[in-house]
């Protein structure tokens, strides 16, 4: 995969193409991050996007940790047996 990226570095107009790629990716990040998406549009600096991205990833990690703890408690209080597994699977499907 890195070989594909290095191709852009070798061509003469590489800097302009790579900047577009970066702008595309930054705007893609912008769309994913709810904070930025709801407030501004198109006029957020790259630095702000990066900052919000880091904060967002950290908050997602925290959420997953909290959910993991809750799941641990739930699974511990009930002995997971095949019946419950079947119930869960049917509810999920």
């Amino acid at each position: 995969m890195s070989s594909r990226r290095s191709r852009s570095r070798q061509s003469p107009g590489s800097s302009r193409i790579t900047e577009d790629q970066i702008a595309d990716l930054v705007s893609k990040l912008q769309r994913l991050i709810p904070e930025i998406r709801n407030r501004h549009s198109d006029r957020v600096s790259a630095s702000k996007v990066l900052q919000e991205t880091c904060n967002y990833i950290r908050s997602l990690h925290r959420e997953v940790d909290d959910l993991s703890e809750r799941l641990t408690e739930l699974l511990a209080s009930s002995d997971t047996d095949s019946d419950q597994a079947a119930i869960i699977r049917s509810l999920l499907m």
Partner: protein, 206 residues
């Protein structure tokens, strides 16, 4: 009609470049929408939740009763959730490969007690790749610092170029969002099913 041709000739030199840019933009967009579809679809979420449940049950049956008194209880679930998430990525992203590789490395360490970590870091030389664009964007100390912090947050993305990092971060965020949605739904289902089990002793459900 004539004016169109006139302008077309004027821009003949840049038309190739603009079409190249357009093509790249379309590729990037289709790539990004492909990413979003992959993680946003309900079926992907359902499949992840089911696999997570299966993996969790395998884990709890393997370890002799996992003591809930251990503070590390949440850690086990978190690790399993991350591993199942990484597998859902099908090895196409750096962060997913890093999660699975680090897990493998840890088990190797625990089992064989060889110093695998040393060889691992040697095989991946971490040289900074300076491109013209990176210099321009990273000259602002704020951006460079933020890029470094971001690279530490996304697994397996420490020494890679900024474009790759941003791509990985976008996919990683979409995956994490799905992970949160799936685990939330799972938690609700389990707590509801438990409530039913414990609540209704002999009364029948409507």
């Amino acid at each position: 009609m004539d004016s169109n041709n006139f302008f077309h000739d004027l821009h003949a030199d840049t038309s190739l470049e603009s079409s190249r840019k357009k093509r790249r933009k379309i590729e990037a967009e289709s790539h990004s929408s492909e990413t979003e579809i992959k993680w946003k679809s309900e079926s992907a979420q359902r499949i992840y939740a089911v696999k997570l449940v299966e993996a969790l049950q395998r884990t709890s049956s393997q370890n002799a009763p996992p003591a809930p008194s251990e503070a590390a209880g949440g850690r086990v679930v978190r690790d399993v959730a991350d591993r199942v998430l990484a597998m859902a990525a099908k090895g196409r992203t750096r962060w997913s490969r890093a999660i699975l590789a680090s897990r493998l490395r840890l088990t190797m360490l625990r089992r064989h007690r060889k110093v695998k970590k040393a060889s691992g870091s040697a095989s991946r030389p971490r040289k900074p790749l300076p491109t013209a664009v990176e210099d321009r964007k990273n000259r602002l100390p704020a951006v460079g610092n933020r890029v470094k912090i971001l690279s530490r947050l996304v697994p397996g993305c420490k020494g890679i170029p900024v474009t790759n990092l941003l791509e990985e971060a976008g996919d990683y965020i979409a995956a994490l969002q799905m992970q949160v949605r799936a685990m939330t739904a799972l938690t609700e289902i389990i707590s509801v099913s438990q409530g039913d089990r414990l609540g209704s002793s002999s009364s029948s459900q409507a």
